[in-house]
Symmetry: C2
Subunit: 430 residues, 2 copies
């Protein structure tokens, strides 16, 4: 039985707050182990990397086999079906076009005082891309991380992917080549993050590390932050569907389950103003679960974290949406655009009945790396800006310095920073 | 004696690497203490906040005196000199104009397949601004943090500032009002960060916390990250000056010392192709130090972390600049613009001899909150985008779904996510 909430119940504020604060992940305390691994790789380099790969992935490597060769990637590509390769190529093309529009503009102007000011965007010099092995090893995620980096102009992308007992995922390697990844290493875990952050004899260090991983990888990324940049720490996936009587309950059920099949800790929520739709969706989920290959995972997610929330009027859903700040928001209502325009917090919005979230996972164009666990309140999905940085530019001519200087001197002195004041005054003979 | 490096020496690569990796900050291990404070404030709210403020700031408060009243801010403003108020107003105006140009564009297009896609930027709903007490309590930093947030459209900015034994900084309060800060609380340390992240009876929680602080504040920000967003963790300030024979050694010395007076751990570096300029600057620094009020701090910084690097040709400075990735880069050479165009990694660039960095600290317009400790390799100074987030938008009509659906189905199945494939197939009767 999925959890049902009703906005007309007296207990609703409390029920909704409980839904918001439900812990979906047990945070493993792996910090001590991760710290030791990172220090060891920083000191011993390749040797440590090879030791940990043997211990955790059951794979015996040499420095010269850490990197996956071009021939191996050729062989991987040959294993993929034509249909899948074409789908991957379409996805890559659409992601690239979408992200190209995100490239930022430089700016430079000279104001009335003669001050020239603006900024210049530059690409990050090198990026490390973590790709998980096993269950969460998705070629689509390789594209979603690497394509924006290439669009940004990152000259070097180094990918790491664990290959337990030597097993590689041919589609992941093929996606890496398609996206323009420059180097691929068969390493994973905290040791791979350490190698990317500090460098070893074989793995040159990068300036920023992106990509999802397990608790060890997440802890390692937190720990190397500062030494290198990192992206957000991804949590279990979520969808929130807002639907009215016009929506098709079977389609909605399919979307709720597509999210739920990712992870027992995933979360699928329906908000509707229509009680019979709510009932029909609940029945459709039960029916579709019967034949879903990942029914065990999806069923657990739906049972433990799923919810159907009944509200009296659609507009009243907006504050709930903003508090949930979902990673994915589907709006399947008559006035979808209008409602979407009133939402503040959502990672990605899918409009209308013909836009299942899975389109966005693969071939829509927008990025599928999105803020989870309510972090859409303060952060955005991955994009080109995550692979660039801005340098501000300032130039005063002598007249501009005369105009601005006295105020800078006054503020420097007010802050007790006489050296600041003097660095201006000395140029003005003050 | 300041450290001197010469690019023509055989030992230069090693010497430069040592300069790059010099630890300027001892990282205090305050994590256990911070964790306890945060948990306590999250549970006990105002009561805990009041206890810690009594213990750490020697100040006895009630829930109703946690907030600094409008009358107190009126009184603070009345204490400021007219000259300082005018300088502050000029700074605010210029910061606002500069940041307005950073407001991002929304985008929405419909492509040839009938897919509507784009994104919408929205302001973060509430922001907490940490302002340190004591030595690093700068009204200019209040403006640099709060003005971009207001330009972004943040509806609520809550500021926290410790007032040890009740001492407030009138200019800080005045700057807060000028910048449009909505609420000011007289709390600081990890307890203030906890209050902003989790909320108490009196302090409503925020979605993101920005602003510099000591080791406790930095550790608290790291710990609440995820619950709320945070900005970068600021390290000691830095300047790198690139100069040729055209530069004035006295002016350069003044700029090096303006940086050094911030903190014994600040770093001032000169790179030049001119040996006599190098000597003249070194002498000028020694001379100016004799009368500088903060000579003790600036002298320690210059002695312990300052450096003069002699190179044979100016172009050869660019790779060194990029490796140092300075927070502030001054280029005082004949071809300053041309050299600046070749730099990849710098937080902020100051061009020509009439642009001392102190202008940028106060009244230039660009933000003075900038990446330190080589993090300009992967991050930018504070700006409007730090107070906004992007929701991507996707809409397929039935024809667009028919065009894209098969590829999404193929990729879903290739990834073993049959539920994803079915959520598309069910809409296409496939």
């Amino acid at each position: 039985m999925v959890q049902r909430l009703d906005a007309r119940d007296a207990s609703f504020p409390k029920d909704f707050a409980a839904l918001l604060s439900a812990k979906r992940e047990v945070s493993e305390d792996v910090d001590q182990a991760v710290r030791a691994i990172i220090e060891d790789v920083a000191v011993r380099g390749d040797e440590a990397l090879i030791d940990y790969t043997y211990r955790f992935d059951g794979l015996a490597l040499q420095p010269e086999t850490l990197r996956i060769s071009d021939e191996e990637i050729d062989a991987a590509e040959a294993q993929c079906s034509k249909e899948t390769l074409e789908a991957l190529a379409l996805a890559k093309e659409r992601i690239e076009v979408f992200h190209r529009a995100q490239r930022p503009q430089d700016s430079q102007t000279t104001d009335a005082l003669g001050v020239t000011l603006g900024w210049r965007w530059t690409a990050i010099e090198s990026v490390g891309l973590y790709v998980p092995g096993g269950r969460a090893s998705y070629p689509s995620s390789v594209l979603m991380n690497a394509v924006p980096a290439k669009v940004a102009g990152v000259p070097r992308i180094a990918m790491v992917v664990p290959t337990p007992r030597g097993e590689t995922n041919p589609l992941v390697l093929t996606a890496a080549r398609l996206a323009g990844v420059d180097e691929v290493f068969r390493i994973g875990g905290a040791q791979a993050v350490a190698a990317l952050a500090y460098g070893t004899e074989t793995v040159k260090p990068v300036a920023k590390i992106v990509g999802p991983g397990n608790a060890y990888v997440a802890a390692a990324k937190r720990r190397v932050f500062g030494q290198v940049g990192i992206d957000m720490i991804a949590g279990p996936s979520e969808v929130l569907i807002l639907a009215d009587s016009h929506a098709n309950p079977d389609w909605i059920a399919a979307d709720l389950l597509a999210q739920a099949e990712h992870d027992p800790a995933a979360q699928s929520i329906l908000i509707t103003d229509n009680a019979s739709l709510a009932d029909a969706v609940e029945q459709a989920v039960a029916r579709q679960l019967e034949t879903l290959p990942k029914a065990e995972i999806a069923g657990a997610s739906w049972r433990d974290f799923g919810a159907i929330i009944l509200i009296d009027r659609l507009e009243n859903a907006i504050p709930l949406v903003d508090r949930l700040a979902p990673e994915h928001l589907e709006i399947e209502t008559e006035n979808a655009e209008e409602l979407a325009g009133r939402v503040r917090n959502a990672g990605s919005i899918f409009l209308g009945s013909h836009t299942p979230e899975a389109i966005g996972d693969y071939v829509g164009g927008p990025n599928h790396v999105l803020p989870t666990a309510r972090s859409a309140r303060f952060s955005s999905g991955l994009g080109v800006l995550d692979f660039m940085k801005r340098s501000s530019i300032l130039k005063c001519d002598p007249a501009a310095l005369r105009a601005l200087g006295p105020a800078a001197i006054a503020l420097g002195r007010a802050e007790g920073l006489e050296g600041h004041a003097r660095s201006v005054a000395i140029r003005l003979n003050l």
